[in-house]
Symmetry: C2
């Protein structure tokens, strides 16, 4: 189990030992040894990527729209998606068979083939999709530095993600990509929907996310109330909001198979994560 987060918090001198142990520590290791089945690890939520702490599995959420677009693209038959943190890096990855998708302020940048829309990603036009995403890609790259296994979640693959996590052994951090370092309502909502289905101890951040999920009767109002949705509407992309609110239509969980500076390589994952699913040595070929 990864303990870096607890160590960091203890060094900060703000958490009493009894409360740090309450979350992760020797007691949990003992509990784990006493169990035959999967270890119900700690369920945490990083409300923004800045809150990322060590975990066994990190699940990155950018429901409006990067994680939805990646899930849709892999379902459409793209062999992999290269998520980049800047438009420039995506342009540098231009090669035969690669389709460049992305946005700046919701709009397709010059030189790109399509926007960051799951509707556009539903039609395959090449072997690999290169996706320049402002918040999702950096969150994925950051998550890969904090957890040995990184998955992508949205509402389209909600059921599949929950299925994988229920069979997962260890601590889980649900990472909300947010917007420009600020919390994004829609990501917290999705994190809460996932957290509510899992067994295990919860941090307060996970309880916050679960309460947010309870605070909306359905997904669409939660997504539609967000600042990101307002920006999409202003850009004439309202249809994307409704599409991103569709639930459990794709039985596919994107997983990170390699991440180098500013680029995360994502492929479709199997139903259950195996040790072979993550290849840290896998590199992105420019």
């Amino acid at each position: 189990m990864v303990r870096a987060g607890v160590q960091r918090r203890r060094r900060a001198g703000r958490l009493c030992p009894s409360r740090a142990l309450q979350r992760r520590g020797p007691l949990r290791a003992l509990q784990r040894e006493a169990r035959a089945g999967p270890y119900p690890g700690v369920i945490d939520v990083a409300l923004t990527p800045a809150d990322l702490r060590g975990a066994d599995v990190a699940v990155v959420i950018d429901v409006l729209r990067a994680s939805t677009t990646v899930t849709q693209a892999l379902s459409a038959g793209y062999s992999r998606v290269l998520c980049t943190d800047t438009v420039e890096r995506a342009l540098g990855l231009r090669a035969p068979g690669r389709v460049l998708a992305g946005e700046r302020c919701c709009v397709k940048p010059p030189g790109f083939d399509q926007g960051n829309s799951p509707l556009e990603a539903a039609s395959r036009h090449g072997d690999e999709l290169v996706l320049a995403s402002t918040n999702g890609a950096p969150a994925i790259v950051a998550a890969a530095a904090h957890a040995p296994r990184v998955l992508l979640a949205c509402l389209l693959n909600l059921g599949a993600v929950v299925g994988v996590l229920r069979d997962t052994d260890g601590d889980v951090t649900l990472v909300c990509s947010g917007t420009g370092g600020l919390v994004a309502l829609e990501d917290v909502y999705v994190a809460g929907r996932i957290a509510a289905t899992l067994s295990g101890e919860r941090t307060d951040a996970a309880l916050v996310a679960q309460a947010v999920a309870r605070g909306f009767e359905t997904a669409l109002p939660a997504l539609a109330a967000s600042a990101d949705a307002a920006a999409l509407r202003a850009a004439g992309l309202e249809a994307d909001i409704g599409y991103c609110a569709r639930e459990s239509e794709l039985a596919l969980v994107p997983r990170v198979v390699g991440a180098s500076e500013g680029v995360a390589k994502v492929q479709a994952g199997a139903g259950v994560i195996g040790a072979a699913a993550v290849d840290g040595a896998d590199t992105v070929e420019a």
Copy 2:
């Protein structure tokens, strides 16, 4: 209006101009000029003190237990409360007429007169209370650096705080003190209760807090589910949780009248904040 937060976010290069303006900017200034009544400013929530941005009024929440204890102490007749960020600083303020209250890991530190319990603060034993608080005091001091007016809120004075804020002109940030830099469920719940009553545009963080408030039928379950409540129960202080969950029993809003390094001087405020209510030159006498 304070614009430091938006400027900082724009410098970070992550927010598109249209979305930054959507929150605070020239458009809002024009809207304000067109109105005769109070300006319905932006309602923001700092989920932890690290999220603090500029605002006209900052409202610091540490419902378990510092902001509750300060409110109770001022209601009991203490002329002021000196909130300190360390036990050592509180010990250095020892003087005739001063009562030292505080906690480390929920327990009264050596050399102190009482713990950080609102129940203990309900009986006055001197003229000033010195309160050594791990999370609340640093949050108050930090808030004073970001806003010209700083108030303290809890559930005991919920109605009074809402009354003051409804008559307030400008942007409001509700500051959740959290625990050791991590989000605290109970503070987000109280922030959401307050935000839900105010007019004005909301950030996503405010919408998150409001959804959390909707996610619980009453206050006690929200407080009791938190990690801080678990720590209080473990320390045999469960009675404090129920006391801190009592709503709108005190018509008093603590306000910061001076803050220097590590110490915030807090007094009972009037119903409406006036320009004279904040005296930045006011210093804490050791």
